[in-house]
């Protein structure tokens, strides 16, 4: 399989009145064509910034260093116009909030056909046919009527399906899904995730699924990257990660998910404390102040990304399960 996307030591920082805010700190990862990667972390861990930095969707206050190799070409060296030409056909994005990501004053039809007309050079009638096909593909009942509707007339699940239809309309090589189901009900979430997996196999797309919920990525990704305070703290194939968890942070994230099996009245284990201040550079492991297994070494030295075999990398001096 060919490498589709490779990030090398990607660092993103924003200049703010409080100082330089380092949102992503030296992330290196790789995605093959047709593969799906889950990026997991709390709010503020830098997972959304990571995907937006790759797409080139950051505001002017942001600075990026490192390399973003998309099919071997460094996107950081391209001009904004050249990057824009990749949007839609090369990379596409599904945003978190389907309520605000669609244009409220334009009909669904014109929003779905927009990229077909501009990107693929289709005529209006042809684009309309294609749009109907796409809406059917994302299982929207009565697509003809849907083309004439406005976003406010649709439920959250329907809007997210429209977003997916728009994102995959030009058959992108790489699809970013930024918390695509966080605003949705569990029933709709399951439907949308299944739909994304189906489309990924069908179009052989690479997918980066950004979420805060390990339960969401478990069944729908090949690899998982866990982020904490801008660092990539654990990176492994999905099955390997769940079978052989190394980072105390990943373990804590997993334990805090409420499950149906837990008996009523049991307390959920929580991660006490908060993320460190992103504008400050403190020595030691970024998770040290919340880690249950913390030692003096963790407080003073920053752990390097260690190769644990089986493609499993982690950033911890005292990983769970020894070594």
């Amino acid at each position: 399989m060919s490498t589709l996307l490779k990030l090398e030591e990607l660092t993103v920082s924003f200049s703010t009145p409080r100082g330089e805010l380092r949102a992503v700190r030296g992330v290196t990862l790789e995605l093959n064509a047709g593969e799906s990667l889950g990026v997991v972390g709390e709010s503020g861990s830098g997972k959304t910034v990571l995907s937006r930095a790759t797409m080139g969707l950051l505001p002017g206050t942001a600075t990026r260093t490192g390399k973003i190799l998309y099919q071997g070409e460094d996107l950081m060296e391209k001009t904004p116009v050249e990057v824009r030409d990749l949007w839609g056909t090369g990379m596409a994005m599904i945003f978190q909030d389907p309520m605000t990501a669609l244009n409220p004053v334009r009909r669904i039809g014109s929003q779905v056909t927009e990229s077909l007309i501009h990107r693929l050079g289709m005529g209006k009638a042809e684009a309309r046919e294609k749009a109907l096909e796409l809406l059917k593909r994302v299982r929207i009942p009565d697509p003809e009527a849907m083309l004439r509707k406005f976003p406010y007339q649709l439920s959250g699940g329907m809007r997210q399906r429209i977003m997916i239809a728009i994102a995959v309309s030009c058959k992108p090589e790489l699809l970013f899904a930024d918390e695509p189901t966080t605003a949705l009900d569990v029933t709709v979430q399951a439907q949308v995730l299944d739909l994304l997996s189906e489309l990924r196999t069908e179009f052989n797309m690479g997918m980066i699924l950004v979420t805060h919920d390990l339960g969401v990525v478990a069944g729908h990704t090949d690899k998982i990257a866990v982020m904490y305070a801008g660092h990539l703290v654990e990176y492994a194939p999905t099955k390997e990660l769940f079978a052989n968890m190394k980072m105390p942070y990943t373990e804590a994230l997993l334990k805090s998910i409420p499950r149906l099996e837990t008996l009523t009245g049991t307390r959920l284990p929580v991660i006490e404390g908060r993320l460190p201040d992103p504008t400050k550079d403190e020595p030691g492991c970024s998770f040290a102040n919340r880690c249950p297994y913390v030692t003096d070494k963790c407080r003073n030295e920053s752990p390097p990304l260690t190769d644990g075999g089986n493609g499993h990398f982690y950033r911890c001096f005292f990983p769970i399960g020894g070594k």
Partner: protein, 476 residues
Amino acid sequence: MLDKAPYGKRFLAFLVDNLILGASNLLPLGLGLILASSDAIRPVGIALMIISPVTTLGFFVWNFVLRQGRTGQSVGKSMFAIRLVRSTDGQPLGPGVAFGRYILGVVLGLIPFFNLVDYLFPLFDKKGQRVVDKILKTQVTPIGSFLTVTPSSKAHMRPEGDRILVVNDLTVEFNLGKDKVVKAVSGVSFDLVRGETLAIVGESGCGKSTLGKAILQLPKPTSGSVEFLSKDLTKLTGDELRDMRPAMQMIFQDPISSLDPRLPVSEVLAEPLRVWNKGNQVEIDAKIDELLNAVNLDPAVVRDRRSYEFSGGQCQRISIARSLALDPTMIICDEPVSALDVSVQAQILNLLQDMKDRYGLTLIFISHDLAVVKTISTRVMVMYLGKVCEVATPDELYQNTKHHYTKALVGSVPIPDPTVKRSGNLILGEPPSPMNPPSGCRFRTRCPMASEQCANEEPQLREVAPGHFVACHHPA
């Protein structure tokens, strides 16, 4: 003449004489009882029961008064009359004996009639216990319920408990004009016993949030009653309702937008205390510190900051502190953790549990995620399109899921383990429009087990296991 008839025939006539009067009373009464056991035709049943003594009276008058002079001439001509107004030896009955028979028939019919009285005038005392139950020292069930296994929309009610909230047949409709009516909540009944946590679970649009708001009269429901602390909130005037408000509080879904961005946290918490005159500034300050400490926020750091300076989890802690300010009896939490990360979600769920134990609260917890309510609730009510589908304790609901909608909800919860395949029990599509809900069972358009019966007949809640109620014709 009968006096010359053989003994067997005379005995038969004696039996018929006495039975006819009784039957004229009991037949409509029994039929009425059967009809009244079904919600849809209950009025017909009740009407039949009311007229049953009247039909007997009519029968009596027709036979005894109008035909007395003319009966007895020929047995063949008027079998009924002769048996009714003459004794077995053929002599006419005295008016007293005949009237006695009528009274006997009516009294026989009156025994089940007590149920009707109870149905028409359900008299409750302050604890929500029926007065009739107390006088008769019995448990008088609603009419007709002893004929079948309690098929009613209220089978899950617990009249014997210490109920602080009793919601009866609550309906909320929104009129959109042009004859369009959104039926958000359709005849939901439930009760809340002091100290419990009731979870209301369902998809977006099932009416769970509307139900929560209708309890607080925001806005007032279209019909039905909401008895909170023995007062019917729907019948209170504005001022009376306002006096009830401190006892019932709400925590909203979006923690950030439910706090005033211009007010520092100390003001957010002081506002309810000032409005209700809870002491002077020193006392209010002390109370604010106590509240912030209770929700694990440091008052020294937090007091003077504004809501935009906080994360979602911290804002939700402040919302919880605000809802606790007036020492409420009941808090309605409307999706309090949906907008939060899983790690923060666990913190807030634990905090709610702590606050409940510490302040002796009763909670209504509204959510779309069964896994979230599993840890915190003591009773779960699943709603679909404005109706109650299933009521049970969370453990029972998960281990012994009966309703196919609940099964789909259980199947949708993501499992954080890549080796486990999901059961594949998913529902497809979107819920139907609440403007035009399907006939019969509202879930039938998406249900894998739907049959003709589901389209024709609305399933009512019935008990399938102790404390486990389900409204489904074909439970799993």
